[in-house]
Amino acid sequence: MRRKCAVGATRGPWMALPLILGRRMGRSARGKTVDRVCVRRWLVPAVTAALVASAHGQAGTVREAMAQRMAALDHLMVEFHWFECGAAYGADPLDRSKWRTDGLVQLRKYRAWIVRPWFRLRFSGQFGNERDTDSAWVDGEHVTRQLDDDDTWSVVRDRMERSVTGPLPVGTPLELHVFDFREPLLKLLDEGRIELVSADDTEVVLAGARPPPPAYPASVRAVLDPRRGMLPVEIRVEIEVPNGRGIITYTLRTLASTRVGGVHAIREAILSTTNTAVSRADRIVYHFLAHSIRVDPNLDADTLRVEIPAVNAKIIDEIDLFYRRLDATGKVVAEERWTAEERQHQLAALRETFARAQDADRTLLRRYRSFFLITGASAAVVLAVVGVWGWRRLRLRAT
């Protein structure tokens, strides 16, 4: 059916209907096909608006579900085992036969109390001489205390959340952090650092490439299971080490979940890390296995706090800037105070030492290469001299 399209008001979204139905339409006076005009004016904006609205709606739904999840997993007490071992760089971390238990192996028994975003972690090491440690992150303050061999408490108080978990991604299966992003997925979504990529009945995918502080280029991809209350089934984070030195990759894969507060919490997960910026780019595998996950409505931020001992303690306070040693009667037997500038200088020196230690591996490799280069170059020089010497000898014989 060929029809002329009237100009102006007669062009309406209904003109796009034959196109949707797959029927050919007439041409306008200017020689353009009517369907093109209608598509450009009505269908494309309409479909785009619908898609955007749908995406917003979906994102809103996903966000709501994630917020419900966080609320359900609040005021939580979790007991879990944390096992750490190595694996070859290319090995599948899920393949336990590839785990190397001959090198650096750690097994810790943790107890965690969570009143989001605050938490407290207590662990006891099962191997070696690891001391039992109690740490808390409450109201932007971190306190760690540890009982030393001489029955003296070592206490550190500062504003560094990272000090609670150390370099271990313990907060990730507890859904407190997303590896080096020290925030949960919901906060990353709210801040626009990750976005909804796709969503269906079985899988919700979130991804983004906004850097965590410190601002190294990083990307996150998380796969959630909407049937289990947006349970994270897989998370992958890649961080580029500055100056193109390599990539740090973190992965989490959930193996089992358990129902808590109407949603599924991670009960068992395998986490792994690789870092191509270091000379031994092996994989570190962590096995998270929770024995008990329960909601305790009596928990609040104050119950999470770690008490600073009043006797037999060595206290380093980075907030009030002092070091103090207390004897068995609570008397101060040693004290040192710093200004903010002095402490900054001390910490800068410490950071520099740490950075140097991190670079030591790469420097050593470079130096080993230099050694082989020197011995090879020396051999080349001697061979050249042998050549000249032999040529000269032949010439002398000839004359």
Binding site: R367, S370, T375, S378, V381, V382, V385, V386, W389
Partner: protein, 159 residues
């Protein structure tokens, strides 16, 4: 018609030859002495030499024990071979290789700013300073130069 060189010229040429031989002998003796001196301490205290090599941070740890024995043993063998006329040329090439290697290592340590005791001139004279490395670099280059000169100024009978 042939003309004979004057007797004075012949005597002068002979003297020059003797001086040259004397200088070669002194150079050889110095080479032998330096190599034997350098090898001695390293062979007597291999553990100490290995510790020094580890502080360079240049040699992979797995190779350090092997290198710690190979270097002084080579120095000793080369010192002995320099005394034997038939082995002298080969020994001079060996000395040249070692001297160039040592020069390279000292140049690297100077460039890298790592002042470490090296044990090159024997354990007793191991300097842990940049001027020390410069002195030892000069000594290594002098060894290399001496070996090269001895190779290229050898009298016909020994070639």
């Amino acid at each position: 018609m042939e003309t004979l060189a004057p007797a004075g010229d012949v005597r002068a040429a002979r003297r020059r030859l003797e001086i040259r031989r004397g200088l070669r002998g002194i150079a050889l003796a110095l080479l032998v002495g330096v190599l034997a001196w350098s090898a001695g301490g390293k062979l007597f205290w291999p553990g100490e030499f290995q510790r020094l090599m580890a502080t360079w941070g240049l040699i992979p740890p797995k190779l350090i024990p092997a290198v710690a024995y190979t270097v002084p043993a080579s120095e000793l063998v080369l010192a002995a071979a320099l005394v034997v006329r038939r082995l002298r040329v080969a020994a001079l090439f060996g000395v040249l290789y070692l001297a160039v290697c040592f020069s390279g290592i000292h140049a690297f340590l100077i460039w890298a700013g790592t002042a470490v005791p090296c044990g090159c001139a024997g354990l007793a004279l191991s300097f842990a300073s940049r001027p020390g490395h410069i002195v030892l670099l000069g000594l290594s280059l002098a060894l290399a130069l001496a070996a090269t000169l001895l190779l290229f100024t050898a009298p016909r009978c020994s070639r």
